[in-house]
Symmetry: D2
Subunit: 316 residues, 4 copies
């Protein structure tokens, strides 16, 4: 097993970069262009706060779907597990993240899980606050605490693009209103959801989120922000549903909780061990970073991070 | 944390038994009747071969869907991962285990995963052997090796019932033939599948299967039967898809790989730690043992077995 | 064969009224209440302008889905058949009128037909005019011409209720925007659609619409408003899709073009012979008037109006 | 309006032939090859038994799906409307003719209609007789009576091909067995269905079937074989569902009952007027003859056969 080091990460980046050619950059993100296709960066932070970075790890990209796990943590804090999962399920499903037909299924009266768009909008509608501004402020403050990065902010152009291209999400939200799943103001829930997706982060920030989940919900100052049982819930749902409709593939090939975004971002969380942040803007048809996915598989294999292997257990 | 002991297990059984009243016994299984509704048994075998049993742990029930993980191991041995997953996917899905509409989806040319009926029939079609008899003999020998139980055998009445009630599985198999997914003889694949489901096992046998997966694929004589990477694959798929369309729920509430059968059986596998076998014939509408599910959730919580918790890691 | 007369219609009403008990009044319509459940009225106007009425034929109800055929005629006038059917299909389907999953089907890039909500919203988006007000004015003027009823107007409370309960239709419209099917302003298309549904009409008005279609698109003053080929298109689509997902049933049991609305209204059009207007507010789970449906089946049988019978042909 | 004559039909054939290039010959039919792609023939028989033919009208092709309307007539005779439509619906649907997901819909416990494969297999299972041989003999005798053609017979190679390529139909049939829709022996129902599809007919035979339906169910000897109400039922279902998932298109563009088969055959029935038989082996992706479809649209327009036009009515 290779030792975790900057040099190892540099080599891993070089190995994984060629996979970028199999993907394409999301044209809907205004801060993106084709020159970014070959970017690939990674940051790993261990439970003892050792930090390793390589490649384009300083590149900022919008959170997109990685925001879904932050929203879920806040909603669990605000309302508890029972109430949250009255609104959204916790079952993985095989459809695309923006699928609407699953919402019409007579077997479900709610979105399958909080990692698909409908579910995340529904979860966002629960986050407490007297206005969208206040609710977003809470979200951002929580995220700054976790990442220890006070400079985090929303990119206005990404936010405007989310609104302009928001027809599908708007359709999902109004569908949920029609079935009684979404009981708060639809446009407010969408507005908050669009803002959450538009926060700009780099690999270090993503890695901090992964570490927060991996290390027991303790912020860098040692404050316990989220109880263990909520963290376990979030991580389990990441593993079964965090990588869009390739989640099963990543459960097998990576074997620890991950969450991707269509900005090519990936958050990895290895329970008790480390947080991983990856940015690689070229994504595949399912929405996952092609080079970033290759990289995180390599890390899992080389560093023996797969939770389903007996190497990665207390017992052996 | 309570110590794992027979007394603890006795108490856990008593706590979980009342949940049997929420389920019902599968009327299609000829060896079952309503008097079995309240049965509940468990066996745990640790990595050091300590054995703890409680309740109705001697009750034999047919394997039903728990056979799916044995079939998958054999097919992986016979053909390797690439070939197997040309035939079947590894993605979880939200539909019922005998769903056929997913097979007609234009996004998939194969069953979503090996834990649903269509996928398991497809996997069974791959198991090598010159005849159904030979193929089943291999299956049974492999199972005897794992469980160290030479008395395992198929129940003829269960097998006949599988055939008599096999219309849905037959429909799934012919559908796969029509799309080119199933290329071997359909009736032979079904016959093997029906036999595999009809083997009678008790809690100890189920626990041995869990232990085999948890302990690195080594049979009781110390022989390495299956390589680690195949075991990781099977366990990851169990976690995302092993408990029918409640797999997400069990990933959150139990947090280690499990596989259930409509006979009320559950195999649990805690990587590096232990195998768990549960029998509780009363099942819910999704096909999972109600009392058995409650029991396995309790074991996970009390004994801190949840893989997504930092307690269950080398690091803490 | 009984002669068409007021007395015959009175008897037909009495025969059909008991079927009202099998339906229920649409609670979402603010002008409706349970006291209206047993209402049933009918007006028949022959090609020679003989008028027969019976029962509660003076009862005004909102057009609801019967507006869909007026919208289709206007859009065909404005843009021609090719353009309209780029936006919407002409195939019947088996789903409910407000189904959204059909819009996600990879085989269709547009709503199945103009008689379901999505299709009608899409058609409404095509009606020409510089503002919603102007477009609605055109619609109303056209309807007044057809019905020779200058008093037709929208009910404000129905319109407000359409808006308030419009989440599903809004979801459908934004979905079509997301796929590029709906290219005009979504809220304007919805606003026009809601207004069209809210016009109050009685049996005589509905019968006039049926007669207009049956008699060659000639208004009472003898002006040819719509060419024959557009009328044939509308009538054929009414026959295959006009009675929600009971259209096949009505094609068999009635056998001439009909269009129903959830207000319990039915427009019948017997080519070359007559127009029929029915109002019976108690509707079944598919959205069709129970007593009105029974009545129109009886009329078809008694008066030999079924187009698939050889009695109703030039040749016999 | 042109006069119906052999010369007119010859011209119509020439006009329509070029559309053959848009289709392709069904490779699964053993009597077919690519040299047949450009064939196109037609026979029209009027209510007064005038016969007009043109093009390749002597070409024999297997009945394929055109057999569905014969099977439906026999089942209606044997069991009556109520019993038949307990087994199968009468609603059009938008899916392909061999779709299975519609059978899993919770809104339906039976196939949508008798014109799709599942529905036709279900209907075939109802045809009375003590063995498949006897049941097929009844079917063939009925067909000989209608067509006045004693030479009709099944093509053995087509029948064998139906069996060999029957996986999808077998899947449909076993699915219906699993839901209790198909209660007779599955393999017998399939065998009868395959034989029915394999009878060889030419344009004259197809036209005779159309005439039988159009002229009141009277065989050439003047015997009333099927009551009017059953004929109306069959014709209405042909109009809403007879041309696969292009039935709505043909209802608009042709406007009288038709039934197509994947052999490129089309039966047209103009109530009270005529029967039409068309053979043009090149079919489109939905299963309809491309040149044959063009021809039948032209006939409808030129000869004013569209039932939704006021020209084609007693009144004008």
């Amino acid at each position: 097993m290779p030792e975790l080091s900057t040099q190892y990460l540099n080599e891993a980046i070089e190995d994984s970069k060629p996979f970028a050619s199999q993907g394409s950059v999301n044209a809907a993100i205004p801060t993106f262009d084709d020159t970014m296709k070959d970017l690939l960066g990674v940051t790993i932070i261990t439970k003892d706060f050792e930090i390793y970075s390589a490649g384009d790890y300083k590149q900022n990209v919008p959170m997109q779907s990685t925001s879904k796990i932050i929203g879920l943590m806040l909603a669990l804090q605000d309302f508890g597990k029972d109430r949250v999962f009255q609104t959204v399920g916790m079952e993985p499903m095989g459809d695309f993240f923006n699928s609407i037909s699953s919402l019409e299924s007579p077997d479900t009266n709610k979105p399958f899980n909080p990692m698909i768009n409908a579910g995340a909008i529904s979860v966002a509608s629960l986050i407490k606050g007297q206005s969208v501004d206040k609710r977003f402020e809470r979200y951002l403050t929580f995220l700054k605490d976790i990442t220890e990065n006070d400079d985090l902010e929303m990119d206005e152009s990404v936010y405007q693009s989310e609104i302009a291209n928001g027809a599908r999400n708007r359709s999902l939200a109004y569908f949920m209103q029609s079935t009684g799943t979404l009981v708060t103001d639809v446009e407010e829930a969408l507005d908050l959801y669009f803002r959450m997706n538009s926060i700009m982060m780099c690999c270090n920030d993503f890695a901090r989120v992964g570490l927060f989940l991996a290390r027991g919900g303790i912020d860098p100052d040692g404050n316990k922000l989220i109880p263990d049982h909520h963290l376990r819930t979030v991580k389990a749902i990441m593993l079964t549903s965090g990588m869009y409709n390739a989640s099963g593939h990543f459960a097998v090939e990576v074997g620890f909780p991950c969450k991707s975004g269509v900005s090519g971002s990936v958050i990895g969380s290895v329970p008790g061990k480390m947080g991983i942040g990856v940015v690689g803007p070229a994504i595949d048809s399912k929405g996952n970073s092609t080079a970033g996915g290759a990289l995180i598989k390599k890390l899992s294999k080389d560093l023996e991070l797969n939770m389903f292997g007996i190497e990665n257990t207390a017992g052996e």
